[in-house]
């Protein structure tokens, strides 16, 4: 570019005192741009107002010592972050978040894949089974949580009734913090495996049948075909599910709120942020700092997945 400019004849340079002429838009380009703005601007504005504005507000609030409901606050810089990372709560909350996320993501995907394989078979009743498996995913988390609470209730729940039938006492699913986490994980996996199953089913049905038949003719048995062909060919589906279910698990709220309102043993990052601000503590600034930590974790995980995991994906 520099070479081109310097190579121009001196006279030509002198006759054009302004550096670059303003490009004139053709009427059509201008009309297209206007249409683009008309279509995109409302959405961009909505995203700006309801996503980025709260995000920046939240980052600002995370630097305040602010009690929710109070009209005044004190700027404390990074104190809220220091408090969080130096407290024993941080270890507990991050640990709970990791356990909840890894088990729910792994459980939903693994069970979803197994269910998808079963649903992919040509036997009677699979259409009904597909609907039945997917149904929990579209149900309200609040309703699902309430129903499962009745099932798990150690006093008069269905599970307690079954256990009493074999002379056993029900575990304290609701009061025991460790069992509470197990309970919420079970329900979360139950609710979400239908989503993974349906996505995997779509992936299984789009596998190239000619390649699978060729492998079969070459003597590969079912397990070998699955491990060496189906699974690698499903890697785009697995990658997609890994990102979406992990983001969804890290933001899981409704089941935890309904089944364990105190968050005793089930306080993941997002629920801890809720409890700190809107629970009994009213520490809005501290809660905002936890939310920023969650945002950073989500961003890093997504970037890492895009950077490293996607390399292992076979798109064709």
């Amino acid at each position: 570019m520099t070479r081109q400019l310097t190579d121009r004849p001196r006279a030509a340079v002198e006759t054009k005192p302004t550096a670059t002429p303003r490009r004139r838009w053709s009427p059509r380009a201008r009309r297209d741009f206007f249409v683009f703005l008309a279509l995109a601007l409302p959405n961009l504005l909505l995203i700006a107002v309801f996503t980025y504005l709260p995000l920046f507000n939240n980052i600002y609030y995370s630097t305040l010592d602010w009690t929710l409901g109070s009209a005044s606050a004190t700027v404390v810089g990074l104190d809220n972050y220091v408090t969080f990372f130096t407290s024993t709560d941080a270890t507990k909350v991050l640990g709970t978040t990791a356990v909840f996320t890894l088990i729910t993501v792994g459980g939903s995907m693994l069970l979803g894949l197994l269910v998808a394989i079963a649903l992919n078979s040509k036997i009677r009743g699979t259409t009904f089974a597909r609907s039945a498996v997917f149904a929990p995913y579209v149900l309200s988390g609040v309703g699902v949580g309430l129903v499962w609470l009745f099932i798990f209730d150690p006093g008069y729940g269905v599970l307690a009734w079954l256990l009493r039938g074999i002379g056993q006492q029900s575990p304290q699913w609701i009061n025991d913090p460790q069992l509470s986490l197990v309970m919420v994980i079970i329900v979360y996996v139950w609710k979400n495996l239908g989503y993974c199953a349906v996505v995997y089913l779509a992936g299984l049905q789009s596998l190239p049948q000619d390649v699978m038949e060729a492998a079969s003719l070459d003597g590969a048995n079912g397990l070998r075909r699955f491990l060496s062909m189906s699974l690698p060919l499903l890697s785009p589906t697995t990658f997609f599910l890994l990102i979406t279910t992990m983001l969804s698990s890290l933001q899981a709220f409704d089941l935890i709120r309904i089944m364990t309102p105190l968050g005793n043993g089930t306080s993941t990052l997002i629920y801890e942020a809720y409890l700190q601000a809107f629970g009994a503590f009213n520490r809005a600034g501290y809660s905002a700092a936890i939310s920023v930590v969650l945002f950073a974790i989500l961003l890093i995980i997504t970037l890492l997945q895009l950077r490293f995991v996607e390399r292992k994906v076979h798109y064709s």
Binding site: L53, L64, L68, S70, A71, A73, P154
Partner: protein, 448 residues
């Protein structure tokens, strides 16, 4: 006018948007002054005309929605110019507090009158969310002296009255009279927990119920009811502002509770609502609020007995805390709305209306002149709750004044009563947590 939407203009627009976003990020709370005691001052209502309508936020304690509506109808008949909109603002005290605090932060949608529980009113006071009622009391001639002294004193701070008692309760000892009779036990509540420990094995053996006694749900208000055990053993959550939940007495009380579940195996812990477990016959006895009384009497298919809370080896009395909710007026609404709300507040707490409320829920009448004859004839068990009021004890500061303390107490109770955690270690950790809350969230806001 020709449009010239080139890149420069577009970026200019985007920059303006970002600037607006940055500016709006500077909204929210003011950072100009210290974030300490911002309690609203008393309001002078002279010359103010009550607003034509206001919202009354309630969680309908003790399933009181119908009786609240009925009292509002009576108020409308007497004051046709003031319309009261009853709003269900939550299922419990925590949910209503959440909605109220969020409205404070949003600076909009506040009610004229709000139900506030024993653990929330002080926070509203220290945040400047509620007004002192002294001017309204004077102008509207509210008979403060006629309120139960211990109940109205709960809302007094810095020489001002910040709320009036509404759905006030104490815990009661509920027992299945049929089970007690079958076990050959006297038809009364035990005087002490030691006495009940002698009764419990007989009860469990003869009743067929899962438990002789069930501890109230920990996720509810464990910090409230466990004060009974702590006080009976000579312990407490705190003495004034000195957190002493790790004292030998407190530890002994909770160790005894743990043993009743894991060693002696006659007690359990409720998962949701002890009163429901009791009414369903899962347990022969429990402790629950007086606000649950009418519900239990309606749903239980056996004879229900109620009595005072049992004492412990150190103290037989007073070992019963007061509790429940009051009514307060937000500071963030107009004087007109505040006066209209105060007018209704006066009406709502009149002797005949507190009787009506009590009859429908089981909560205690808050006025000494309330004529409870008819109510007691229909539900004699309410008399026990009323009589127990004379032997109540003011709750520990740590429970009612430290934000989130109730939840921390519940978590510690869960560790002890469901996971068989080490009592001393759990209480030592709780003490550190409570002291941290006091130092950070309360001490800077206290009046010196």
């Amino acid at each position: 006018m020709a449009l010239n939407l080139d890149r420069r203009h577009f970026l200019g627009l985007a920059g303006a948007g970002a600037g607006a976003a940055a500016l709006s990020a500077c909204g929210g709370p003011s950072t100009a002054g210290p974030a300490s005691a911002t309690a609203a001052s008393d309001i002078d209502f002279s010359g103010v005309k009550p607003a034509a309508s206001f919202d009354f936020w309630s969680n309908h304690p003790g399933k009181s929605q119908d009786v609240e509506k009925a009292i509002i109808d009576q108020f409308q008949a007497k004051f046709p110019d003031i319309k009261v909109n009853l709003v269900t603002a939550g299922a419990n005290y925590e949910e209503i507090a959440q909605k109220f605090q969020t409205s404070q932060a949003a600076k909009s949608g506040l009610p004229g009158l709000v139900v506030l529980s024993d653990v929330w009113w002080f926070r509203y006071y220290s945040n400047g969310n509620i007004i002192a009622l002294d001017s309204a009391i004077k102008q509207l001639d509210i008979k403060v002296d006629d309120f139960q002294k211990s109940l109205i004193a709960d809302y007094k701070y810095a020489d001002k009255q910040w709320a009036l008692p509404y759905g006030r309760s104490t815990p009661l000892f509920y027992y299945n009279r049929d089970h007690f009779k079958a076990a050959g036990l006297p038809d009364r509540a035990p005087k002490t927990w030691q006495e009940f420990a002698e009764w419990a094995p007989k009860l469990k053996a003869s009743s067929g119920a899962q438990y002789a006694y069930i501890y109230p749900a920990l996720a509810g208000y464990a910090g409230w009811t466990l004060q009974n055990n702590l006080w009976g053993w000579g312990g407490s959550w705190s003495n004034e502002w000195n957190v002493n939940c790790d004292s030998a007495e407190s530890v002994a009380a909770l160790q005894w509770a743990q043993d009743s579940i894991f060693k002696d195996k006659w007690a359990g812990v409720s998962s949701k609502e002890a009163a429901d477990d009791f009414a369903a016959g899962i347990t022969s006895s429990t402790i629950s609020s007086t606000g649950s009384l009418l519900g239990v009497l309606k749903s239980a298919s056996f004879n229900v007995g109620v009595g005072y809370l049992p004492g412990g080896p150190k103290n037989e009395s007073p070992v019963c805390p007061t509790g429940g909710a009051g009514l307060g007026i937000p500071s963030g609404v107009s004087k007109e709305v505040q006066l209209a709300a105060a007018t209704f507040l006066k009406f709502m707490t009149e002797p005949e209306n507190t009787v009506q409320f009590s009859a429908a829920t089981g909560y205690m009448p808050t006025r000494t002149s309330a004529d409870m004859t008819a109510v007691l004839a229909a539900t004699p068990q309410i008399k026990t709750a009323m009589d127990q009021l004379t032997v109540t004890r003011v709750q520990d500061n740590a429970r009612v004044f430290l934000p989130g303390a109730d939840q921390e107490m519940a978590k510690s109770a869960a560790a002890i009563l469901t996971q068989q955690g080490d009592v001393q270690a759990t209480m030592t950790a709780l003490k550190a947590t409570l002291e941290g809350i006091y130092t950070k969230d309360v001490k800077p806001k206290l009046k010196s």
